[in-house]
Amino acid sequence: MEISVTVNGVTHTGDVEPRTLLVQYIREHVGLTGTNIGCDTSSCGACSVHLNGEAVKSCTVLAVQADGQQITTIEGLAADDGTLHPMQQAFMENHGLQCGYCTPGMVMAATSLLKENPNPSEHDVRIGLEGNLCRCTGYHNIVQSVLAAATK
């Protein structure tokens, strides 16, 4: 089936099998590999991207469902001149990542969170990231990163 998806402002048109997941489409068809796959049950959130401005798990959306929609991935977050997005900067400054595999999904979930709740408490941040697993950081510095980004 032919679909047309705008990823980070660039429209891609091409054929996909209906069973192609959005995350596979982004990684294999569009060639943006920053979005990672960490599970097969929609549990870990590593594949989180923005669909029309809201965080979704791209392993639980079919590429054909994204036909005609706007997708933002981790590659689309920093400014064109390379300046990190405030959330990326906050993760760096607060050591909110170690191996970095969950990080793109975590950052995309966190930016979506702040859009919906610009002044979250620590509890709000923790519960807002309930759908994203990290095995390295124990979440402490991830939470600090998001709280720091909220003040920027």
């Binding site: 099998e17 049950t41 170690q98 697993l133 095995r135």
Partner: protein, 795 residues
């Protein structure tokens, strides 16, 4: 020369990580991200049965499926293997180890054991095709319980005729009979059984392999999501019979390991063998529900531990019996994992030479076990720290007070332990005091007395644990005495390039630890350059040919020290060059801030940058000196390193539901000199939550037929942010006297300290209800059951 008593400008600062921008923007490449046109995709058909004879495998329908290049049974592939898959740690001379091929030939020994495979044009086609393979099995009873396994009622591997792989003993006493006498004379004894459930390591990046034949001559490059590219290279050469010089192994960005990628796996051999056979790149990426079965699991042991103590509660003897679950096969270091704890069952306490340890490893019909963060040491620490609480309860004294009575005195360091090992340094009172002040131990105890009254449904508990990490694996000769198959050294090369930029080549292989940052800091401190002028080359056997990789908190105390030593070598060479050019005696040159100065002649100086250029042009070097400023070294540590600390935890238990809330967690860790406190804290945070998760959330559950019932992250409960508490960290700094940096390592400390602290707090909360112990994980249901049982089912 040691660095611990010099002023430092880079070491100890909270330098932001060099690794982060690539990881934060999606530019970093993990193995599965590497695009290779024309690569074929491997899929492995896995046995649904835990114990079954493979009668026949019919791959014809898979072969006929469009897009499939080849399909193989285990028997089809057996000629590709020059040797079976390795176990590198034969812990005893008579250890039994079944033959283990990448695809099983005649028998599936656990649910998830590979029985056939396909290579196809896409991952989807490969996955569709393996569903078309028909395997005829004869099923047999599975062996799940460890004591059942030991009985040999059902034998997992007929070829070895028993489920007992080995028994390893360590009995230490001055005179025969001392231990029995100590128990007979003891004022207090405890006898406990603790069970460490199977844990699924769950690194967020599943495993992934890409084997790429190189043009001409049979060279092969293997990319793998591994912690151990150097060790993997050796074993790919051995198992496939490929000349080692034709192999290059690269671990690109690797998304966590925690021991699960400290292994060599079937799919690494399969991809390489099939890439070689078909002359095309072959790749494979694990799915999570596949990872749960096909990647090693951790812990899985039953501990029986007895303490003997005198009137004051001072330990006089310890007896330990372990029954350790090997799973269906021995992976890389499976049998040695429980033995890594053998020396830590006395914790940070003084113990006379009265120690009796024995471990038996048994085969079961489950996924093989192997190293998981801490590997043997969290288990040992849990046993002694839980037992200390039992002893304190029995004596009716505060558990912290009991620990203080037993701490090895600070003045005794370096301390020769009962085991003959020398603990290099420690100050346990200081760590315990800091922890109790930060958590307000006295205040919590007072609050607890008020809160835990008759009928209270929210009960407060306070848990303490103190620990040694024992890392920096390890002096090679000590490893030899343990039958370990390799050494414990690490390699480093430091080059000062002509323009005074620095390359550090390391044999460590990071997967989240931030080595690029920390190693840059060490070189920058030593050489007087900016950390941003240092590049760290790693995890590629062509760039870093020597190395023993990253595990066991060894990277800094071995690999980091090797870099510091290599820097010293560079400085020494540079000193000779500078002396030659300044027409001074090398002995009169002082080096600081990147400049050689002649003592007493402040106008005579030569910066390292100038020396580097002179070394490069080689126009005017001392007679006989080789050009360029480079030093290569191998460092074999003289001792383990001994990080230590005290963790404390306060919990509230809802006795109506069994739910546990962690109110506060304080971790005081002493890892010696800190290269980068930001990274140290991150390691502690992550480690603590992994230890806490063992107590509260995680556990692989198998049914009686050997089916894994927790094969996805929906069922295997890796906690998320709202499920865990913030961590309050604090540090004491007791430099290691055995290396020039004074460092000790910190990767596993959090995990080692956390589990007993959390469980001690839970049991402490419920001790007034008669609860003495709770099996892990302490799920609400388990806690509620324990309360019901303690109350005689009457609540």
């Amino acid at each position: 020369m040691t660095m611990t008593d010099q002023p430092r400008t880079v070491l100890g600062t909270r330098l932001l990580r060099k690794e982060d921008p690539a990881l934060l923007t999606g530019e970093a490449k993990f193995t599965g991200d590497i695009a290779v046109p024309g690569a074929l995709h491997l899929a492995v058909l896995r046995s649904p049965y835990a114990n079954a004879t493979i009668n026949s495998v019919d791959v014809s329908a898979a072969l006929a499926h469009p897009g499939v290049r080849a399909a193989y049974s285990g028997a089809d592939l057996v000629d590709l293997w020059a040797a079976p898959m390795p176990c590198a740690w034969p812990v005893t001379d008579d250890m039994k180890s079944p033959t283990h091929y990448p695809i099983a030939v005649s028998k599936a020994a656990y649910a998830g054991d590979g029985v056939a495979c396909v290579i196809a044009e896409t991952a989807a086609i490969a996955k569709d095709a393996i569903e078309l393979i028909r395997v005829d099995y004869t099923r047999h009873e599975a062996v799940i319980g460890l004591e059942d396994a030991l009985s040999d009622r059902v034998v997992v591997h007929d070829e070895i005729g028993t489920n007992r792989s080995y028994t390893w003993d360590l009995k230490i006493e001055e005179h025969e009979g001392d231990i029995d006498a100590a128990f007979a004379a003891a004022a207090h004894t405890t006898k406990e059984r603790f069970v460490h459930q199977r844990l699924i390591p769950s690194a967020m990046e599943p495993r992934s392999v890409l084997a790429m034949p190189q043009p001409f001559g049979g060279d092969m490059t293997v990319y793998s999501a591994t912690q151990i590219p150097h060790i993997l290279k050796i074993f790919v050469a051995v198992v496939l019979g490929i000349p080692e010089q034709q192999l290059r192994v690269i671990a690109p960005s690797v998304g966590g390991g925690f021991g699960s990628k400290l292994d060599v796996y079937a799919e690494e051999f399969l991809c390489t063998a099939l890439a070689r056979k078909h002359g095309v790149p072959v790749r494979w990426t694990e799915e999570r529900s596949e990872a749960s079965m096909a990647t090693i699991q951790g812990r899985a042991q039953i501990q029986d531990i007895e303490l003997a103590a005198d009137e004051a509660g001072r330990l006089t003897a310890i007896r330990v019996r372990l029954l350790a679950d090997m799973g269906a096969y021995l992976q890389l270091v499976t049998p040695g994992v429980p033995l890594l704890g053998a020396f830590l069952y006395a914790g940070v306490y003084e113990l006379p030479k009265a120690y009796d340890f024995s471990c038996t490893g048994v085969f079961t019909s489950m996924t093989p076990t192997d190293a998981y963060r801490g590997a043997g040491r969290p288990e040992a620490t849990y046993a002694i720290e839980r037992s200390m609480d039992s002893l304190a309860a029995q004596m009716g004294i505060d558990p912290l007070e009991l620990r203080r009575r037993n701490f090895i005195p600070t003045a005794s360091y370096p301390y020769e332990a009962f085991s003959g090992l020398t603990y290099d340094s420690g100050d346990h009172d200081a760590a315990a005091t800091m922890a109790s002040e930060m958590i307000d131990y006295a205040g919590l105890r007072a609050r607890q007395a008020e809160q835990n009254v008759e009928g209270a449904t929210k009960r407060l508990g306070i848990g303490v644990s103190t620990y040694f990490e024992m890392c920096g694996l390890a002096p090679s000769r000590v490893l030899a005495s343990l039958n370990y198959g390799a050494g414990g050294w690490e390699a480093a090369t430091v080059r000062v390039l002509p323009t005074n930029k620095v390359q550090v080549v390391t044999g460590t292989s990071p997967h989240g630890q931030g080595h690029e940052t920390s190693w840059s800091m060490i070189a920058a401190e030593k050489l007087g350059v900016d950390p941003s002028d240092v590049d760290v080359l790693h995890s590629d056997t062509a760039l870093a040919p020597y190395g023993l990789d990253t595990y066991g908190s060894r990277s800094l105390p071995v690999g980091g020290v090797a870099i510091a030593n290599a820097c010293d070598g560079v400085i020494e060479k540079a000193r000779q060059i500078a002396a030659h050019q300044l027409e001074a005696s090398a002995d009169d040159l002082e080096f600081s801030d990147g400049v050689f100065r002649v003592a007493g002649s402040p106008d005579k100086e030569m910066p390292l940058a100038a020396v580097a250029w002179e070394a490069f042009t080689a126009h005017n070097l001392p007679d006989g000196m080789e050009p360029n400023l480079e030093h290569h070294t191998h460092y074999d540590p003289p001792n383990f390193s001994w990080p230590f600390g005290t963790h404390m935890c306060a919990v509230e238990v809802d006795t109506e539901t069994g739910e546990i809330e962690v109110l506060k967690y304080v971790a005081i860790d002493d890892c010696g000199v800190q290269v980068n406190p930001l990274i140290v804290e991150g390691q502690v945070h992550g480690g603590v939550i992994q230890g806490l998760a063992q107590v509260l959330y995680e556990g692989a559950v198998y049914d009686g037929d050997g089916n894994l019932r927790t094969s996805t992250l929906a069922e295997y409960l890796v906690p998320a942010a709202p499920d865990v508490p913030p961590i309050t960290t604090g540090h004491t700094v007791t430099p290691s006297p055995t290396n020039q940096l004074g460092v000790k390592g910190v990767g596993e400390a959090g995990t080692i300290g956390a589990a007993p602290a959390v469980m001690n707090a839970i049991v402490d909360a419920l001790s007034g209800l008669g609860v003495h112990d709770i099996t892990m994980p302490a799920s609400p249901h388990t806690v509620w059951n324990a309360i019901q049982q303690a109350q005689g089912g009457s609540q």
